[in-house]
């Protein structure tokens, strides 16, 4: 019987980690629904981007207030996790503060003391985050896409972190031996007197409860990630690694189109020639993207990485002038549709069963797509290098090349380019007239 808590702990740990792994596999499966794109080049630059942008928080601090608060929570959360290692060992082997004798009282005290200070800083930062969201009501947290789950998700994460940090302090404060040793308790020593009315047995119960709720809470939070925008704490790293390295202005030249154009321009090509027997046709089933499976895996990973901070939308000229487009909503809708497609595949034994829906129209409207000026402000702003513009362009490609559904004025512009070599209706033979005018 004395091993019962250890067995229960081990079971909870296995269940918690197991469920997390299961969801991560689903995540990878869903991202792989996207088309292939080669991002294996220039590893050095990619590692550098990841180190600078994800690890170094380089783009976060461009907005100093939220940036510095974010760095505090980020560092605190990572460093405090060393304590989680001790908790896991204690839980599995029935020890108590197993690192204390190993590291020596002084160093252990220093370490735990640091964690306490970090926990307090994280707590304060999270409270400020909460105030910014709910009291100051910073505009980007109140855009129209930020209702329902996205809004609640943001707050739930903050509550989670407040509770986890509090439990850590309470756990230390109710550990009589730890408090009496008087090292490593810079914060919890002020909580300890508040508990002085309790008997040692009750204190021990409080300590044990805080310990259990803390570790179960951490495992619950781990599993909450998949369902939440908080997934960015994991995906920020691959997302910055695989982000586009080329100049922001460079859009890819669709290879399938290049082949078609070469065929059209080649005077020797036989337009009626059937593809050789046994070779796969190079012509893709469609040009551009109308659903998530037409996007590439980097674009889909972008959607899972998005933490809905809204920095993109708050810099988007179309959004700033009241238009429908919000780059954040583009990412959120892509993720929603991807989740829907994934659930459909799970429900139908591993294959997608047509649900009569797609990303275009059912999630993202042409009005949003046509409002984009392709100015790259959203791409520039994103703290983790998400590229909403590439999705917008791919969907425009579908609208134009598959549906011929461009706004009428753009059709005229394109006809002019085709016929006159300029977006306006001028004769190409007049191209040099400017030299004789003044």
């Amino acid at each position: 019987m004395q091993y019962l808590p250890n067995i229960i702990f081990a079971l909870i740990l296995i269940a918690g980690v197991g469920f997390f792994v299961k969801n991560i596999r689903k995540l990878i499966r869903n991202i792989n629904l996207g088309k292939d794109v080669d991002r294996s080049d220039n590893k050095a630059a990619r590692w550098k981007n990841m180190a600078k942008i994800a690890l170094g928080q380089y783009k976060m601090v461009r907005r100093p207030v939220s940036g510095i608060l974010h760095v505090a929570v980020y560092l605190g959360f990572i460093i405090i996790n060393i304590e989680v290692l001790e908790i896991i060992i204690d839980g599995l082997f029935g020890t108590h503060r197993v690192f204390q004798p190993i590291l020596g009282a002084a160093f252990y005290g220093f370490l735990i003391g640091t964690f306490e200070v970090l926990a307090a800083i994280v707590f304060i930062a999270v409270v400020v985050f909460w105030i910014r969201r709910n009291v100051i009501r910073i505009k980007r947290f109140w855009n129209k896409e930020m209702t329902g789950w996205p809004k609640n998700d943001g707050n739930i994460i903050l509550y989670f972190e407040m509770v986890l940090m509090s439990l850590f302090i309470v756990m230390n404060a109710s550990d009589i031996a730890f408090q009496e040793a008087g090292i490593g308790n810079p914060i919890s020593q002020f909580v300890y007197p508040l508990l002085s009315g309790f008997s040692p047995e009750t204190l021990h119960l409080i300590e044990q409860s805080a310990w259990w709720i803390h570790i179960v809470g951490i495992l619950a939070f781990l599993n909450y990630l998949y369902y939440s925008k908080h997934l960015h704490i994991l995906l920020a790293f691959p997302n910055t690694f695989y982000a586009k390295l080329k100049p922001k202005g460079e859009l890819d030249n669709l290879e399938a189109v290049t082949k078609e154009v070469q065929l059209m321009m080649d005077p020797n090509a036989d337009p009626y020639a059937a593809p050789a027997e046994g070779t796969e046709s190079d012509v893709p089933e469609k040009f551009g993207a109308s659903d998530v499976t037409d996007l590439n895996w980097v674009q889909l990973m972008n959607a899972y990485t998005c933490t809905e901070c809204g920095r993109c939308t708050s810099a988007c000229p179309a959004n700033l002038t009241g238009k429908e487009l919000s780059p954040r909503a583009i990412m959120m809708k892509t993720r929603d549709r991807m989740e829907e497609v994934g659930a459909n595949i799970d429900a139908n034994g591993g294959t997608f069963k047509d649900d009569g829906k797609q990303l275009l129209n059912d999630y993202i409207s042409p009005e949003e797509l046509w409002a984009c000026t392709s100015c790259n402000a959203c791409v520039e702003e994103c703290p983790v290098n998400i590229d909403p513009l590439s999705i917008i362009i791919d969907m425009r490609r579908y609208l134009v090349m598959e549906e011929s559904a461009a706004p009428q004025e753009l059709n005229m512009m394109m006809t002019n380019i085709e016929n006159n070599g300029a977006p306006w209706q001028y004769n190409q033979m007049d191209r040099l007239n400017w030299k004789d005018e003044e």
Partner: protein, 259 residues
């Protein structure tokens, strides 16, 4: 105005130092044509051996590509590349950041590899090489603000060249609150120039003009024909055309050097 074409050059068996890619706006738009002529005057002053394609130039396809018509874009690109390669063009300069971006970034994988300059980069180089100087007394102490074109700035990380030139004019440069990488678009990019904006509560060019007017400028400097049009329209909307002018950097240099 003496403007040699590549065909003229070829007939004389010559290869110019640089091809000036005029672009559709620079060729046909009345306002942009002034920028084109100002830049040619600068090229003449610096004795740059240049040529244009003239009637052999066609749209780069930028607007078509950003509107989603990849077919039309690539048709344009392949045709233009054939012409450019036939003339063995190595170096291109253009006053249009959209042409600049497309020629520099999107043509290479289709077979068109050139060294491409935005005119502000090229003029900066002419100064560095001692071939051109800017008179800093004509526009001295004028209050100027510069609007970064998205396709020069964010798209290609070029923020310094235009500013280096503006400072050499001897003017008083004031930055807008949104500048360089955080600059607001003029509203014309991504083929928006050719259509009515979607429903909203304001036009983008008006918002951007408000950014500019907040610096209380006498001159709004631009480096893109589309930005120029959008900002000029914004100034008219705000009824400030008697107080503020919108000028391309090439025009300001031509004015300063009395060309």
């Amino acid at each position: 105005m003496i403007v040699p074409t590549m065909a003229d050059m070829m007939a004389q068996g010559k290869q110019p130092e640089v091809l000036f890619w005029v672009g559709a706006a620079g060729s046909f738009d009345d306002r942009a044509k002034k920028i084109t002529r100002a830049f040619v005057k600068i090229l003449h002053q610096a004795k740059v051996d240049f040529a244009v394609l003239g009637t052999e130039e066609s749209s780069t396809g930028d607007a078509a590509k950003r509107a989603g018509n990849e077919f039309l874009f690539q048709m344009q690109a392949v045709t233009n590349i054939e012409v450019l390669n036939a003339y063995e063009v190595k170096t291109i300069v253009t006053c249009d950041p959209h042409s600049f971006n497309t020629l520099k970034n999107e043509y290479p994988s289709l077979g068109g590899k050139y060294e491409v300059f935005h005119h502000t980069q090229f003029i900066k180089k002419l100064i560095a090489d001692g071939r051109l100087d800017i008179n800093n007394s004509v526009l001295k102490d004028k209050k100027v603000t510069f609007h970064d074109p998205c396709y020069l700035g964010r798209a290609n990380d070029e923020y310094e060249s235009p500013r280096v030139l503006i400072k050499r004019l001897g003017v008083n440069l004031t930055e807008m609150k949104r500048n360089k990488s955080t600059a607001l678009c003029c509203g014309a990019g991504g083929a928006q120039m050719f259509k009515e904006p979607e429903k909203g509560n304001k036009d983008i060019n008006v918002l951007r003009t408000e950014d500019a007017l907040a610096t209380k400028p006498e001159i709004i400097a631009t480096g893109c024909p589309y930005c120029n049009t959008m900002m000029t329209d914004g100034i008219k909307f705000k009824e400030k055309e008697n107080e503020v002018v919108v000028k391309d950097i090439a025009e300001l240099i031509a004015e300063a050097n009395n060309l």
